[in-house]
């Protein structure tokens, strides 16, 4: 389904479990450079686990994930490959409080670049430009825990953008954002797409997936990949979305007419029986 583009990630027969609880069961797909993908699935379907494995933070029980042909494992993520990988792939956690651990917003933005060996002056320049781009210069010296949810999310995203990654893994990026902050996020991700960044979102927000992703991967409640295809086609497949518990169906009566709706965070198609 993809054109001839460089494969960044190849996920092959990936399985993972927490203790005895399966989180992923035999998931396979690949990601090309510059792609914009939404991983859709109901709560607990394994989306977050998949992103953590793709970021080399946890490792699968069976199957594999390769980045640019090199398998991600505790052994391989060392030295030069680790540096190259961390420079190119960044992860935005769903909960900003987990991600914001530095004393000030500015130091938060400097953390990644400095750990990866960027010169201090260059890192400071990056951080200041990002603060300006996101309109949060005034927060620069504030401790992140005193910020609002929207501001925290902005700082969390800025903290990974400061690394200038090629691949952005984002777990539930619209979590806890008010409508204005959501619009801001949509705009930002749209601009990053324009820069040919690879964006992989894990979400159950179908409107986010529709607006930002050309391709959608669906995980069902059995933690398996049940669909992988163009966003337009997947979002029209009501049966698939129902099976994956991404929408649900509801019927009610208006006089003699029964309306059947599919409900979810996504705008749905009404049917009249």
């Amino acid at each position: 389904m993809r054109g001839a583009m460089e494969d960044l990630f190849i996920v092959n027969a990936l399985s993972f479990s927490y203790g005895g609880n399966t989180a992923l069961a035999g998931v396979s797909f690949s990601v090309g450079a510059g792609e914009s993908i939404a991983i859709l699935g109901a709560n607990g379907s394994g989306k977050s686990t998949l992103l953590k494995i793709m970021d080399g933070l946890i490792f699968p029980a069976s199957g594999s994930v390769s980045f640019l042909g090199e398998r991600l494992s505790e052994e391989s993520l060392q030295g030069d490959f680790l540096k190259r990988f961390r420079e190119r792939v960044s992860f935005v956690f769903p909960e900003p409080d987990v991600q914001l651990f530095c004393p000030t917003v500015l130091e938060e933005l400097l953390f990644g670049p400095l750990q990866l060996g960027l010169e201090e002056a260059a890192a400071i320049k990056r951080a200041e430009e990002l603060l300006e781009m996101l309109g949060i210069e005034a927060l620069s010296k504030r401790p992140p825990y005193n910020l609002s949810s929207g501001e925290k999310k902005k700082v969390a995203i800025a903290s990974v953008l400061a690394i200038n990654p090629d691949v952005l893994l984002m777990d539930e990026p619209t979590n806890g954002l008010d409508p204005r902050a959501q619009v801001w996020l949509f705009e930002l991700l749209g601009r990053l797409k324009g820069l040919k960044k690879t964006i992989i979102l894990a979400t159950h927000d179908l409107s986010l997936a529709e607006d930002l992703s050309e391709r959608i991967i669906v995980l069902d409640e059995a933690h398996s990949l049940v669909a992988d295809g163009p966003a337009e086609r997947i979002l029209k497949d009501k049966d698939l979305l129902l099976r994956a518990n991404l929408i649900h169906e509801h019927a009610h009566r208006h006089g003699h007419v029964i309306h059947r709706h599919s409900h979810g965070p996504y705008s749905t198609h009404d049917e009249h029986d």
């Binding site: 953590k52 970021d55 933070l57 946890i58 680790l82 540096k83 961390r86 420079e87 960044s90 992860f91 956690f93 909960e95 409080d97 987990v98 991600q99 651990f101 004393p103 000030t104 130091e107 400097l110 953390f111 990644g112 400095l114 750990q115 990866l116 060996g117 201090e120 890192a123 400071i124 010296k141 504030r142 401790p143 825990y145 005193n146 903290s159 990974v160 690394i163 649900h248 169906e249 509801h250 019927a251």
Partner: protein, 291 residues
Amino acid sequence: MEEMRLPDWLGGPREDTGPVRRLKPTGFLEKNIAGFSGAMLKALATEEYASRDGVLQGLEPRAKLLGFFLLIAASAIAGSGLFLSGVLLFVSAMSIKTRVGLSPLAKRVLPAFVFTFAVSLPVALSAVTPGRELVGAFGVAVTAEGLRLAGFFILRVATMLTLASLLALTTRQADFFRGLGRMIPGFFATALFFTFRYVFILIKSAQDATLARKSRTIRRAVLRESQRWFASRAALILKRSFSMAEEVNMAMISRGFSGRIVSAYGAAPFAGRDYLWIGFTSFVLFLSLGI
């Protein structure tokens, strides 16, 4: 999709569950958790004073920390009440020169002062410190020696507390931990910072748990039930803290952390006022050795 069926009692008349005895609105646990949470919040909100233009705020963090440590050490060593009173007076004066003011400083010190006062009272009694009896009743008397000893202990603790509070009030947290990181191994300073940072979040979840319980409670639980509830919340928070520690570690690794934190802004050179501060506090420490 199958139609949802609501149980009949959900829409039916409310059952008579009998009267409930009126009790005080808050319990011991709620009060303590709310109090601790409030204190943490207050600690986090000190940036207001730290960002004012005062004599101590402009000092290099290392110099300021070192100076305060020397003053605290001097207060711990000194054997003279006059010396301690002098330091206390100096800190009080500094609270004005730093534009913090006496009242915020006193408010911060007061709870610990009251606690110290309470625990040191028995020292004044003849049963603990024999000596010349001043007043007495029912076989218990207050002795002059005991009173002097308790007073001296309270004065020492008050001086040290006031010093530590003024340091906390006039120093931005970031500067405090940055300064500390340059005086002790970075790992310990980072661990201390993380503890401070994440304890707040966990306290907040404890506070939410007490509120959630309160919203569904109309009578005071018996002690055993409270203990069981408290133990289960403590276990849950412990579990959350482990899970959060793991996630924070992942977030750090994801951004290139590999065991040693590289930070920006190398230590700035000391200015004249930094040397003056360290010189003065060293002199105070020297004086305390002879008094």
